[in-house]
């Protein structure tokens, strides 16, 4: 090590604080026991008053002592960092309904047909009934993963893909798609094409593999290995989308691979010279492909020829732009991290005219745009908005209430059969799941 490296090492050891509590074997045993019992995606087994074990999404328990105070947060709220202390005993099998998911948390055998029985819960009014919000499902999913298609809702969480009944929130089927703790994430929502649900089973380094599952049974029906140019982006989010012709587009390092979902063949590879693709979207008319690379560049390609049509960079942002959505009026996405993360809209993909939307999410949550039901939805933990896909103008905005001062979150809005669904989290109540919403008519597209 040179002098600078030694100074850095010394400073890290000096400034990094001592933890207020240690992880114990009992903590680990509790987690193991919960993992063993909780096959499939993490499942909320206890009613609101009984706090049990949660996955990563619910590690903090507010009863624990605050450790560090970060005052003056930009969003006007404070961020208290708390310690995680699991409950003294598992509440599995307590007063809550029983749940079982047949698939293993480990990699499933190909074509395994999962069967699942999800508990039935009565809908529960949440967020003070904001836009008629009712929680119909109590499973923890990835916050950006809720989507709809083929008459069902789909979401991913902890390496599992779930099919959810939109009528009552029951998980009708669930399957592990192969991600492991040390493996890749699923950056973005599953994509439904026809009767197949696609999800990146592997997405790390030089490996990208898409798995296709029967939209009804979630039996695996396809596996497509996608050639990667270089390495995939380490900060990718929103890497898989479908064009209007049904073809799949997947960010594959410094290129975009186009997959025919019928033949399950990679039919085209579009080179992206600016570097690993963080996110991508296809214009509604199918003529343009938009990709983002990091630090934040937005590039436009002719979808048919693969020729680059334009590209712009944002100089004052150092984070990648993810979760791209393309509408007739332009491109939407997110940028920033933590409290500074926010959604934006660039008319005609022109970043010089980019506008920020919503008030962000903070607290590690994402304010992610979603195009569904004819409007673009901007979720978060402060406001939920619907915006015009043509102009980017916010059509309606509602303040998301707090639960005793702790933020509640709505995101990943999807509309199906005239009904809106969102992924909901309430940290204070340690509650998460799929909620139904009744937005005002101005959000009906």
């Amino acid at each position: 090590m040179n002098t600078e490296e030694r100074q850095l090492a010394e400073m890290l050891r000096r400034v990094a604080p001592e933890p207020t509590r240690r992880v114990t074997v009992e903590d680990v045993a509790f987690r193991l026991a919960n993992q063993a019992a909780g096959t499939g995606h993490r499942r909320h087994r206890e009613p609101r008053a009984q706090r049990g074990s949660w996955g990563r999404g619910w590690a903090p328990v507010l009863a624990a002592a605050g450790v560090i105070v970060v005052a003056g947060a930009s969003a006007g709220i404070a961020t208290a960092l708390t310690s995680h202390r699991p409950p003294a005993s598992s509440s599995i099998g307590g007063a809550s309904p029983s749940a079982s998911v047949s698939t293993s948390a480990s990699s499933p055998a190909p074509s395994q047909v999962p069967t699942s029985v999800s508990p039935s819960w009565p809908p529960e009014r949440v967020a003070s009934g904001m836009w008629g919000a009712e929680l119909i499902n109590r499973d923890t999913f990835n916050q950006d993963s809720l989507t709809s298609g083929d008459g069902s809702l789909y979401a991913t969480g902890d390496g599992n893909l779930a099919r959810i009944d939109p009528a009552n929130g029951n998980v009708l089927a669930s399957v592990s798609y192969g991600a492991s703790a040390a493996g890749p994430p699923v950056p973005g929502a599953p994509v439904v094409t026809g009767s197949t649900v696609w999800v990146p089973s592997e997405y790390a380094g030089t490996s990208v593999v898409l798995h296709g599952y029967n939209a009804r049974t979630l039996a695996q029906v396809a596996s497509v290995t996608v050639p990667v140019t270089g390495q995939v982006s380490a900060t990718a989010s929103g890497v898989l989308t479908a064009g209007p012709d049904g073809d799949l587009y997947v960010a594959a390092g410094s290129s975009v691979a186009v997959v025919n979902p019928s033949t399950r063949q990679v039919i085209k590879q579009i080179s992206v010279s600016a570097g690993p693709v963080s996110s991508l979207a296809v214009s509604p008319d199918g003529s343009k492909l938009y990709v983002s690379t990091g630090p934040f560049q937005l590039l436009t390609y002719n979808r048919a020829t693969g020729a680059q049509l334009g590209g712009q960079a944002i100089a004052d942002l150092t984070t990648t732009a993810g979760n791209l959505v393309a509408t007739s009026g332009g491109v939407w996405g997110t940028t920033g991290v933590g409290m500074t993360e926010s959604a934006w809209f660039a008319p005609d993909a022109d970043l010089t005219r980019m506008v920020r939307l919503g008030t962000g999410a903070g607290a590690g949550l994402g304010s992610i745009p979603a195009f569904s039901g004819g409007v673009v939805w901007i979720g978060g933990s402060h406001t939920l908005e619907c915006a015009s896909p043509v102009t980017g103008q916010v059509l309606k905005s509602v303040t998301i209430p707090t639960d005793g001062g702790v933020v509640e979150y709505f995101g990943s809005v999807t509309v199906m059969a005239g009904r809106a669904y969102a992924y909901y989290q309430d940290q204070r109540a340690q509650q998460a799941g799929v909620a139904t919403l009744t937005p005002p008519s101005s959000c009906s597209g």
């Binding site: 400034v15 933890p19 240690r22 992880v23 509790f30 026991a33 590690a59 995680h84 990835n142 001062g405």
Partner: protein, 174 residues
């Protein structure tokens, strides 16, 4: 407890001896204690079933750190960061030096937040956890050359981080 496997020999000793250092690494990676605890618990839970094999290879900590880093990189894509946003300012426990300590930690985390995930992981493994370049490469599943490259780029970015030069020159103790 349902599903709880038997505790492997030596696991408790390892957890008691290394939990502190692992948690501090987790804090440097994630910037907050809840996530750090979650990260460490995740890694230890992954190590538990393989403990006998890991101890035979004399590599339990290397494995735990590898899981921590990979899990952290996975989390960085999207999901919960473990912060609890509230509408109220929690009370500070003390004044004076405590503020300076908080400032120092904030400056450090802000500086680390400027780094891409893999560069941050290299900084924590290489400079905080005192892992060799080859150990860091093994934990991250990359080459030694890549570790060197990440370290070099990370140092370059950290040089420009506000307040970090003062911290590196000697500042407030934790």
């Amino acid at each position: 407890m349902e599903g709880r496997p038997s505790e492997p020999d030596g696991f408790r000793d390892f957890v008691e001896a290394r939990s502190n250092a692992l948690l501090r690494s987790g804090w440097l990676l994630t910037g907050d204690w809840p996530s750090a605890e979650d990260l460490v618990q995740t890694a230890l839970a992954a190590a538990w079933p393989r403990w006998d094999s890991l101890t035979r290879q004399d590599a339990p900590e290397l494995y735990v750190r590898k899981i921590m880093v990979n899990t952290y990189l996975r989390w960085r894509r999207r999901r919960w960061n473990g912060e609890v946003a509230t509408g109220r300012l929690p009370e500070l426990q003390a004044y004076g030096d405590v503020f300076a300590q908080v400032d120092a930690r904030q400056a450090l985390i802000a500086a680390l937040d400027r780094l891409p995930a893999r560069q941050r992981a290299v900084v924590v493994l290489r400079y905080f956890a005192d892992q060799t370049e080859s150990q860091t490469a093994a934990a991250m599943g990359c080459s030694v050359g890549t570790v060197k490259s990440h370290a070099s780029k990370a140092l370059a970015r950290l040089r420009d981080a506000p307040g970090l030069a003062e911290l590196m020159a000697g500042g407030v103790a934790s």
